[in-house]
Amino acid sequence: MNRYRVLLLAFLMLAPLVVGAATIEMHVNGLVCAFCAQGIEKKLRKFPATADVVVSLEQRLVAVALKDGQDIPDAELRKALTNAGYTVTTIQRSDTSIDAIRSRLSQPKP
């Protein structure tokens, strides 16, 4: 019985490391022009861990969908966006799928 509890505990502790976040959402200042935001998408798609990228000028949001079990450190994300000429204000990780984010972004703002 105790052995099962130990295994369950170990699974619960290791699961977040194995599964990881599905997406990374970043709020970015200076994101006013789709023509210019191409650079951000181009840079983020170069990360091997990137599965997809969504950019919203309306929400000043850049979302990166991660490949299963992979991640991109915050420092590398900040560096990528700074080197693209923009300023990152927040970086958040979540299990929300990129399709759910797309759907959320397509809803009219209240």
Binding site: V28, N29, G30, V32, C33, A34, F35, C36, A37, Q38, G39, I40, K42, K43, V55, S56, L57, E58, R60, N83, A84, G85, Y86, T87
Partner: protein
């Protein structure tokens, strides 16, 4: 002979307004190709590659045809563009660009080929609904010194988002030195862009076509 002080002044002084293309640096590792038809008085083509977001290198060719005299000048140049400063605000962006370069010129006012220098600056401010740009561009050789100053003010009828077509109504005011054109040339322009493609066309107060196309990749 061009004096070094003139080159320095040309290269570093920020003078008046600016020209019809957007930004001389698109994004890091990006290439920008631009062609402009400037109402019959100025035709220009440029190509730049940006190794980083704050500078780009490349070159261009510009032709001036005076509508006052019979003067024509043709300049081919290599150029470095530098983003001096960028302000990334919550819902806006502002930039100060400077550039300088050198090349060769031929023209109707002199024989053979002359060494020419190019220098300029651009200040712009942009939100998703308004745009303002002030740019100056100097082409100088022994036989001529042509400065083109352009002011653009734009308004967007709607806020475009990524992957949508952006539409802008732009008013442009431009002045030339060296008798290329007398007075201020005003143009009403429609600007459309999506992805890496940008086109802009309109008509001047003299009834001439003003058009520009730009591609980023």
């Amino acid at each position: 002979m061009i004096r070094s002080s003139e080159i320095l002044v040309g290269a570093f002084v920020l003078v008046g307004p600016a020209c019809a293309f957007a930004k001389p640096i698109a994004f890091a590792n990006g290439t920008t190709v631009m062609v402009e038809y400037g109402a019959g008085t100025m035709q220009e083509a440029q190509i730049f590659y940006a190794p980083q977001f704050n500078y780009s290198v490349g070159g261009g060719h510009v032709e001036f045809d005076s509508d006052v005299t019979s003067e024509t000048e043709r300049i081919t140049y290599a150029r470095l563009n530098y983003l001096l400063h960028r302000w990334n605000l919550e819902s806006a962006q502002a930039n100060v660009f400077v550039w300088g370069g050198a090349g060769s010129a031929t023209g109707s006012t002199f024989s053979g080929t002359e060494f020419a220098v190019n220098a300029g600056a651009q200040v712009d401010y942009e939100t998703r609904r308004v745009y303002a740009s002030l740019k100056t561009d100097l082409q100088k050789a022994n036989a001529f010194s042509i400065r083109v100053d352009t002011l653009q003010l734009g308004i967007a009828p709607y806020k475009h988002d990524y992957n949508q077509i952006a539409t802008w109504f732009v008013v442009q005011a431009r002045q030339y030195t060296d008798d290329i054109h007398h007075g201020t040339e005003v143009a009403a322009l429609l600007r459309l862009f999506k992805g890496g493609a940008w086109i802009e066309a309109g008509i001047t107060n003299g009834g001439k076509l003003q058009a520009m196309a730009m591609f980023n990749f």
